[in-house]
Subunit: 380 residues, 4 copies
Amino acid sequence: MKVGATHGSRPLGVAAIGYAFMGRAHSQAWRNVAAYFDVPAVEQRVLVGRDAEQVARAAARSGWAEAATDWREVIARDDVQIVDICAPGWLHAEIAVAALEAGKHVLVEKPLTNSIEEAEHMVAAARSARERGVRSMVGFNYRRVPALAHARRLVADGRLGTVRQVRASYLQDWLADDAAPMTWRLRKETAGSGALGDIASHAIDQIQFLLDDTVTEAAGRLHTFTAQRPGPDGPEDVTVDDAAWATLSLARGAVASVEVSRVALGRKNSLRIEVYGTAGALAFDLERLNELEFLDASAPATEAGFRRILVTEPDHPYVGAWWPQGHTIGWEHTFTHQIRDFLVAVRDGVAPSPSFEEGLQVQRVLAAIEESSATKPVRL
Amino acid sequence: MKVGATHGSRPLGVAAIGYAFMGRAHSQAWRNVAAYFDVPAVEQRVLVGRDAEQVARAAARSGWAEAATDWREVIARDDVQIVDICAPGWLHAEIAVAALEAGKHVLVEKPLTNSIEEAEHMVAAARSARERGVRSMVGFNYRRVPALAHARRLVADGRLGTVRQVRASYLQDWLADDAAPMTWRLRKETAGSGALGDIASHAIDQIQFLLDDTVTEAAGRLHTFTAQRPGPDGPEDVTVDDAAWATLSLARGAVASVEVSRVALGRKNSLRIEVYGTAGALAFDLERLNELEFLDASAPATEAGFRRILVTEPDHPYVGAWWPQGHTIGWEHTFTHQIRDFLVAVRDGVAPSPSFEEGLQVQRVLAAIEESSATKPVRL
Amino acid sequence: MKVGATHGSRPLGVAAIGYAFMGRAHSQAWRNVAAYFDVPAVEQRVLVGRDAEQVARAAARSGWAEAATDWREVIARDDVQIVDICAPGWLHAEIAVAALEAGKHVLVEKPLTNSIEEAEHMVAAARSARERGVRSMVGFNYRRVPALAHARRLVADGRLGTVRQVRASYLQDWLADDAAPMTWRLRKETAGSGALGDIASHAIDQIQFLLDDTVTEAAGRLHTFTAQRPGPDGPEDVTVDDAAWATLSLARGAVASVEVSRVALGRKNSLRIEVYGTAGALAFDLERLNELEFLDASAPATEAGFRRILVTEPDHPYVGAWWPQGHTIGWEHTFTHQIRDFLVAVRDGVAPSPSFEEGLQVQRVLAAIEESSATKPVRL
Amino acid sequence: MKVGATHGSRPLGVAAIGYAFMGRAHSQAWRNVAAYFDVPAVEQRVLVGRDAEQVARAAARSGWAEAATDWREVIARDDVQIVDICAPGWLHAEIAVAALEAGKHVLVEKPLTNSIEEAEHMVAAARSARERGVRSMVGFNYRRVPALAHARRLVADGRLGTVRQVRASYLQDWLADDAAPMTWRLRKETAGSGALGDIASHAIDQIQFLLDDTVTEAAGRLHTFTAQRPGPDGPEDVTVDDAAWATLSLARGAVASVEVSRVALGRKNSLRIEVYGTAGALAFDLERLNELEFLDASAPATEAGFRRILVTEPDHPYVGAWWPQGHTIGWEHTFTHQIRDFLVAVRDGVAPSPSFEEGLQVQRVLAAIEESSATKPVRL
């Protein structure tokens, strides 16, 4: 017997734009989501990229029926209902607005865009589209780490009491070598900012997500350790930050610190978050993403301690769809879960989160940090 | 443009038998392997199971073109070149021998089978098939954990010197509750043994794999903590072990200990291995499968210590195909790697490993442990 | 004002025999115990050793009023009420029996002695002395690690339910180098056994202590990796074990495994213990002796996990006498606590624990392991 | 034979002022230092405190020959050569200056004092005394954690290359409960500041110590989570910070972050430091003070990782005096080492470190952080 021959409704056609690192991760999610989650049927219709040969090869490997090089043509297609934007940040606004206007549901990688102006433009388009039932979402994928989704539940359930202090850091080391070459990611015009926009954005979104609260004030500092890097024609100026630090005030009274770096030697992809409340505390490290440390301060003092929860139980968020307890999942499935949530929102006709407005809010925090970094420190 | 339209050769057709836990994990691997690795083209032709409705649903979700209920018909099909056996252990021998005789390449889940006799029969069939270029392999998937494959390299490269002592334990807790019900896994007739065959087999294969050595002697003990468990018609006798312990001698002089349990409360899927040599040492825990601890004793004493290698570098085994450094993969990709290696062996016309002979050797070690467990301990 | 001028009663005079590693550790405890705990007043009267010059120097450094070389003279002194025996094991019986007969309270380092016969002789002397109010105790100091004393409490309070499985290992590496020289510790005549008596004795005592239970059966294996080591006049035969393995049955149904080694490269002094019950579990590592991991399985599955208790709270055993929470203590204070407990028992006229009988019981377990190690394993 | 009867020279007489937490810790060190280290002979002459009865009891327990209540009399005594000041910070300046003028060597607990003015006064007195051969030192005891002293060596030896980024945090939770009562430590007049002066001072000294560098700029923020606390006559205002954050620039180009808190629930005494250089990195946690994590980036990428060095080897700083490898020491011996170093400096006629000047420099950094905290963050 043939399987999957008769679906109740037409599958949703998906187009993805971008086939580099993020494109591969998103393709994985589209290819696998229906094997684990109850989602509307989707078809990987077309993968879009600039280089015809490369995009064709990527499409063939990653499960896409077709490849294309012109995103404008693709978003005009009748058999495409969803546009997934994994292109570099400076292209987000143009593509997303066009896709929304064409009535396509849009998922866009974080950060929303490189500038507040563009972000506001995208928000306006998303609002207008929302009235027509067209969905939009920005891809802060770490919201879909089961351990962090579980952490948010614990906070929401009051298991931490009132949250006072949050410590978030995101440390990488791919720029630790002074001789690492110049790229578009190190130029302000193309990247907007450095570690700030790339990884502090994740940390800031996560703080707001975990606490279900909003940053109201920010102060910070940016620093570039390596001022020039080798370009094809000699040394070029690095015009973005290698590292950034900030303290943030949240509306309900918590204070959060953020530290990010691309030169923290030995830290590969270490997003660490600690949350301290009046009744409990949490700690998380992305390098061990199947684990969550939780302190329940209501235990007797002789028995209290951070417990290492292996977040692989059926009742943990998203986990029931996967393997039996104790069997870990990988980083890539933050994207699988993201697409699951996006598709469920599309099916149910509700607005998915994080919305473009939430993405814009993160941009505003980044801008405030950058603004405050102009303040001179006190000299001794 | 359409993608994947012209392959150089016909894709290999795959049939998988079994759609439960292992079947889902294998399906995942077949669905994704070509997205990451250069392997011969494959098509997920047919998924086989006893319940027509359930297997059809599983097939639809997991990427199989068809579902079927009669494995004999399936292995007779011309469009099936590979048979992947995820059925319970007591069916392995019959299906595997038939498939090999039908000229199909066979991948069979571990343990090879429930009895030495059946295992020997399978080995004979595999040898005969091998002469005709038909490939066979047993699925000790943990050989394909990147950290463990890397560990084997370190041992082979002499980074540990002469290995003396190995400690392996595999602890789970799904039988910790006395009220957990009776199942086929707890009856000797259907399961062969308990923790011994199910998880000690993994530990023993891994010891031999890491050291590239062979167990020559074994002594051990089996224990059942819960003698009866609730069946549909009242209490039934548990006739297999809940836990097992053994010491093993290896041909080149190392001594290994093995401890396994299904009642180790709080340990979900904890395969831990420590290897101590004359020049270095290793430690691994499956609950943190992207990590490997390595001690290089050639460092000055003031600088020596177990280092935590995050096994996510492009030059680590299998990892180059995945994500940038620091981005972890999940348990399921031990199967993806297994199928990659199986397909490459099929393509290259070489015998994949672990062979059925290797699977039989593990069965012999299990049998020796069971035999020795009849020896009475010394009473005080 | 002068301090300490008027004590209610005469201080107890202490003599310690031995000034090497253990002697130094015990001296530390005698020097400091009264600064932290309410104990009868003691005076460090005399330190005894064979080398007059060295013992004088050791005494001067370690707080002893006098040094001496003849232990028989010392135990005859009227101003000595307590004899603390830190001499090598083959001297324990003779000194202890003489001291007890002389009416001195005796603390003797573990293991009780090198042979069952001597141990029985010591037990007889201790029983007889006990009737006269003379106290005796064997120094299994790890009972006085606060984390392990707390662990015993948790077990006694039923927080683990029924204990089923215990895993104990004690790994060191000071013999990992084949070229490490021959010593008295490597000869059966002087040391009794190798890793078995030296460190498995600790593990076995601890298992019985934690569970408040008794080993009834043992099976095990001994192994010597390096058969000869350099002596002053050329290679000499090592006649004790480098490593040992055992499984033990306890009276109330638990099964424990023990693995010890002096060649586990990279492990310096790693006594690790895991206890698995029906309601909870524990894990401990001596290299982190201020910590105890505890799993409370009554927590919801989504919140369960091993919690790291920092055993530095005032209500933890022994800890109230020390520093504020979070301030760790060192290995040496297992001896301080041991002497505190010994002195309190002397003051209160009760028998301290572990008694010589308990020491003998550990010796019997060691002997049973050795006996069972003669059984041949099953050859494959 | 009597021991210690004839010393080559007269022992140095010590007076300690203060018998609370710090006084007890210092007494421990004076009582034990000579048992482990080659230092000039010292005698614990007199312990000074305000309450005659309590100080007499403390003196008797802690090894002091006498107790006294008037520090002025004590520093005038001829048989006192060393004054160890463990009194609260607001008394430091007066006592230290008087003692130095009386020709006594002075060790003073950190922080140097509560105000820059007093600190400058102390520095002037120390300089003047130094010319007369009188020694002075401030007690940043964490410089004497073997792991941190070893870390400094690794940095000095270039094993980290150029240090770029330092992360230091010191988290405690003794004020996590809103109902914890008001104390002098929570009033600006008596305590100077809160977490900033108490624990950030440790972190800042350590950063400068590890890098052998000087902070040149600071920016930061202070926050009080609990504005009022119960006093004897009703709620009182807390006028110091519960938590503080700062970024610091160092003279040679590194940037350090500091975060301290007394409300970080579950963290008892967690001073954590991470140092990232161009060739290596370090991580330390005071709750595991016998360990140091070290990354040597010159290892091949497949073998690189943070290694856990157990800092218990004879060649580690201070450790040779203690126990065999693998045997840990406790927090208290940071003070033992401190007094060892102080006594050796006194004996050798050199200036001990950290000097009062170094203490003043830390005060200046604290003041700069406080000053900068007046800057308003950017509002969103």
